[in-house]
Subunit: 462 residues, 2 copies
């Protein structure tokens, strides 16, 4: 915390009187992530002034750690030449992401400032669709030829080290740039000096296609404990790599998205949002209007969904008038269906997301769900009978029977909905609490009052 | 998929007639993670037979990839000597975790089989409390002395490479094993041959104490894009490292736990469960009884929570008898409070979990929440007025007013609860949908019927 205070005061001093020395000294041993965090509260123009005063390497890395919105605003506030230098020093994937966020005029102005190779690289990386493996890969990886000796290979990696995202896994390509193997620096330095790369490389390379979903890449990196995952195009040529730290970010973003969806909050988190969806990178900094848009959709859908449960209740008006005590238990019963359903959906959504559960597992899991739901429903029926015995003993049998049926129906719907959505190529996490609540409401009302009408011997409503 | 089929048939053949060659050939180029996946459906005894037939390195890594339950069952089924050899070859953290799961008799029988250093190492790693950084660290890391030259350092790493989890980051310690720096293999191979380690190392090392929560370690690794994070004891001596791949697993487990909690599913996921909690490692394979225990707590609490909303409704019985149409909108109104509250809680729980939101942010965020909730409530009031105008125009003004109040109250509770839980040192994710539903129910009933009683001019209920 003292480091933070010291840094904050050095930054304030620099902004007040352009004292470059104090800010350079204060940031010298600082991790760019911490520096970005310290700059986070400033205006983009001030951040740009600080970055312009720092060594290019530090400034480039710090810029990459800023929030997406702040990153583009800061870039727009930098002098074109400085921005060009920072872009040249940024890691290739961050640079392409930032470039995509800049205004057209800025991009045009940058073209003469950037080297041709950098321009080409940015164009290529930006071409991959959002959400694909290609969109999160980087092009600054190390390649080797199969006929190099380990000594030659190490010399090559040593030379290229400053410009590569990682040199710990190097990719072996043939003359058509097809991926034929992967070799770790560990294996290179422990191997014989004269051994050929082709002899010590692993030729069974785990790779992914550029058009695969980015979460598949993150899952492969987690599953196989990789430092980086090579990305190929349709023709099996190597086009990039996804590093483990980017995979961690992807996994965190995907978990956040699923978490939000399950809670009935729509929207895209982290990187560039889908054009027609609200997007936030920080809950803390999100504006009122964005939060409104993230939440209103499900809430209003629920209102219209209520047409069904409202109509159900209206249909049973006579039953309610005859036994108004039935209404005491209405909130509990419909909530129980919704809650049991949400629980079942929660388990399935996460199981499907982490790859533990497959679409084909539905058949054998539905039987288990019915058994669990029956046990849950019976336990809750006992609990509600204890509560209800004091207040309205005459309706307790109806409430208990309804509880078992409603929990069973809610659980079955909650468990099956993520599978159904997944089969329809939709996100299973869209089986959110509000959606299940809405369905369980209508089902609960009909089950409850139907049982009541039958058991309390009222005859069918007029 | 053909690889999978080929492997499955080789395994079946081996189990049928002990054809060791076919299974060795089939697994030769297989990643241990895939091999573990293929073995996953077999009995522990059969898995033990397959592992015993494989090279020790492959068998040890495959064992480490199995689910926790299957891992311990398989270990118990292995001959003691084979198990001892596998333990010696496993990574230190996986070995300590497995050892903790074995039966006492097995542990006693293993002691003479294990080398003294391995026994000591297992004992030390097992001593850290579950959920701490210490519990997920490993002890097979590389250390260097500050006065070594880069050439000596590389030679040392080369020699130690086969027994270390990673050699890409090496930790520099003084003669009291205090952490004084970190140096990457990249910097070593690009540095001058005669440079001292102390000259090229980074002396500002990001580290964590062994007793810190494991999710803090995962967060630091993600934030600073580290390959590994060194772990120190109270006296700042280096005691282990946490690798990025283990951090990814921790982050995934924590996300799953939060996801489940928010959905009203209690329990611990992944590694050894807390002694008194249900624990599952796979949704797909979880038993009926475990699933029942994970879900029943919230559901029964909700039943008892209903005493309040039920009593509220009973109190307003006269109002309901006078205007039974009020009941049509009861499910919608109480659900709206619960859903708006769940949304607000979802945003805060995830914000707190990823470190975006701090406890101290509550003050400035409550104002924003009120503004958003008012906008949401007004929109929903308009929507419900459109629906209600056809069915029960006489109660529409009451329903619309109630909607605004209920959404406001639900949102404020949902947003504040995670902060309150966090302040009480509880998991903010315990602000689950069922808890908020239960609170919102009671609040919704009281708000709705109070407004109805006042507006519809019925006078206070008798």
């Amino acid at each position: 915390m003292t480091t933070q205070t010291y840094l904050d005061s050095a930054i304030r001093q620099f902004l007040a009187n352009a004292d470059t020395r104090s800010v350079t000294v204060a940031t010298a041993h600082m991790h760019p992530a911490d520096l970005a965090h310290a700059l986070d509260t400033l205006e983009a123009g001030d951040i740009a002034r600080v970055l312009a005063a720092l060594p290019v390497e530090t400034a480039a890395r710090t810029l990459g750690y800023l929030d997406e919105d702040l990153q583009s605003e800061t870039a727009e506030a930098l002098p074109r030449k400085t921005l060009g230098r920072l872009l040249a020093a940024m890691s290739h994937d961050e640079r392409a992401d930032l470039f995509a966020l800049l205004e057209d005029a800025t991009r045009q102005a940058l073209l003469p400032v950037l080297a041709k190779a950098d321009r080409e690289d940015i164009r290529k990386l930006a071409a991959y669709e959002e959400g694909t493996a290609g969109s999160v890969m980087t092009s600054d990886y190390a390649v080797l030829a199969p006929d190099m000796t380990t000594t030659e290979a190490i010399a090559r990696l040593r030379k290229e080290a400053p410009n590569k995202e990682t040199i710990y896994d190097a990719y072996v390509v043939d003359d058509k740039r097809r991926l034929v193997g992967v070799v770790s620096l560990r294996d290179l330095i422990t191997g014989d000096d004269d051994a050929k790369v082709s002899e010590i490389m692993k030729s069974q390379v785990i790779s992914i296609r550029a058009d695969a979903p980015r979460e598949d890449a993150a899952r492969a990196i987690a599953r196989y404990d990789l430092l980086a995952l090579p990305v190929t195009n349709g023709g099996e040529a190597l086009v990039g790599i996804i590093t483990a730290d980017d995979a961690m970010d992807v996994a965190a973003d995907e978990a956040t998205e699923d978490f939000f969806r399950a809670g009935g909050v729509q929207g895209v988190i982290g990187h560039r949002g889908e054009p027609d969806g609200a997007s936030i990178t920080s809950v803390r900094k999100a504006g009122i209007w964005v939060l409104y848009r993230l939440r209103i959709v499900w809430l209003v859908l629920l209102v219209f969904g209520n047409i069904f449960s409202g109509a159900g209740i209206a249909y049973f008006e006579d039953t309610i008038m005859a036994y108004v005590a039935l209404v005491f238990f209405l909130p509990l019963l419909i909530d129980s269906g919704g809650n049991a359903g949400s629980q079942a959906a929660t388990l399935m959504v996460r199981g499907l997301a982490v790859g533990d559960v497959k679409l084909t597992d539905w058949g054998h899991m539905i039987g288990r769900e019915v058994a669990v739901a029956l046990m849950l429903g019976l336990t809750m029926a006992v609990a509600v009978s204890m509560v209800g015995a004091f207040r309205a003993p005459e309706v307790v049998p109806v409430v208990a029977m309804s509880m078992v049926c409603i929990v069973l129906v809610g659980s079955t719907i909650g468990m099956s909905l993520p599978f159904l959505l997944s089969r329809l190529k939709l996100d299973p996490a869209a089986a959110s609490a509000p959606l299940i609540t809405s369905i369980a409401d209508a089902a609960g009302v009909i089950i409850y009052f139907s049982i009541a009408t039958a058991v309390l011997d009222l005859g069918p409503p007029a």
